[in-house]
Symmetry: C2
Subunit: 189 residues, 2 copies
């Protein structure tokens, strides 16, 4: 006999939608959207990018991003992810992007980060990490469309503060294809 | 014999922090921060507030807010909560507040909503719902400090667009008291 955790999909008493419930113990698994935090980090005129060492999108480039953890703020989560994936230290000063991706129940919050020094190194989830000028950015090898959205908005807002975060383009919201194993959406051609 | 779901706190293989694990079946419960969505809604010069019918803070006033659900955007979640709690329909046009509350692992996203008509009614989680002019707002009976923060910022940003969301005041971040049973922080005197 092997237990699998809560596997029955039903509406618990007092609730109004289906949840995963264990019929043995009554445990109810409340699944909620997950928050992804990260940062477009710069040193002088260069952008910090990581080449992914883990699935999905192994070998493709992204700003440092990952799941927000318990007991941290969104800014602290972004700073932590930058350290974990790129061994860089940043100061966060503005929210660049807020992308809701309902197909996979995620909310991505991407900040603008200023590196406090030019040091970086590949963390365990990165194959390599680099600082790229705008023209050197490997545009054809970006892991997700929101990497491009965030880089472009960082450039657009350079020198500005007090601006609204950008969202997902309408075009993408309508035509989105989703890789179910992916923590974010795939690149659209 | 009664099963209780995943109850052992340990670090799963390949992970780097403790999770709740079931020692019978190996099920790992990944707990992540939860997203709360809501909106400061206006009709002409009046603000839509709900008096809470459920714990915590029964009898106190709040803008419509609640947990974001799977497969919706943050804006859709805010619109849904406004309908569920106040039976009002809105258009969302800007993000007013983004409050991370790490003590209880929540991220609150409060939008600015324009009511599309003056109709409203109490939903099942509200004792009553009302439209208040600024001076009529029951300031001493607000459920959470972020209700005041959001109302004040809506007023400050009236007529403006393209602004950054406000965060939690530093003062609150430092001195916060938390009610563990509460979905948000308590009012500070």
């Amino acid at each position: 006999m092997q237990f699998q955790g809560p596997t029955s999909r039903l509406v618990p008493e007092g609730d109004d939608r289906e949840r995963l419930v264990c019929r043995d113990c009554g445990f109810v698994l409340y699944e909620n959207p997950k928050v992804i935090v990260g940062a477009v980090c710069t040193w002088e005129d260069r952008y910090l990018l990581c080449r992914r060492a883990i699935a999905p999108r192994i070998g493709f480039w992204t700003m440092p991003v990952g799941y927000m953890e318990l007991h941290e703020t969104t800014e602290q989560g972004a700073i932590r992810e930058v350290w974990e994936e790129a061994r860089a230290t940043i100061e966060v000063d503005a929210l660049l992007g807020l992308y809701a991706i309902p197909e996979i129940s995620q909310v991505h919050m991407i900040y603008r980060g200023r590196m406090t020094n030019p040091d970086f190194a590949a963390g365990p989830e990165s194959l390599e990490v680099g600082l790229f000028t705008w023209d050197e950015i490997p545009w054809d090898e970006l892991a997700y469309p929101n990497v491009r959205w965030s880089l472009e908005y960082e450039r657009e807002m350079k020198g500005r503060s007090g601006f609204a975060p950008r969202g997902r383009p309408e075009r993408h919201a309508a035509t989105q294809k989703v890789d179910k194993d992916s923590p974010a959406v795939l690149i659209q051609p």
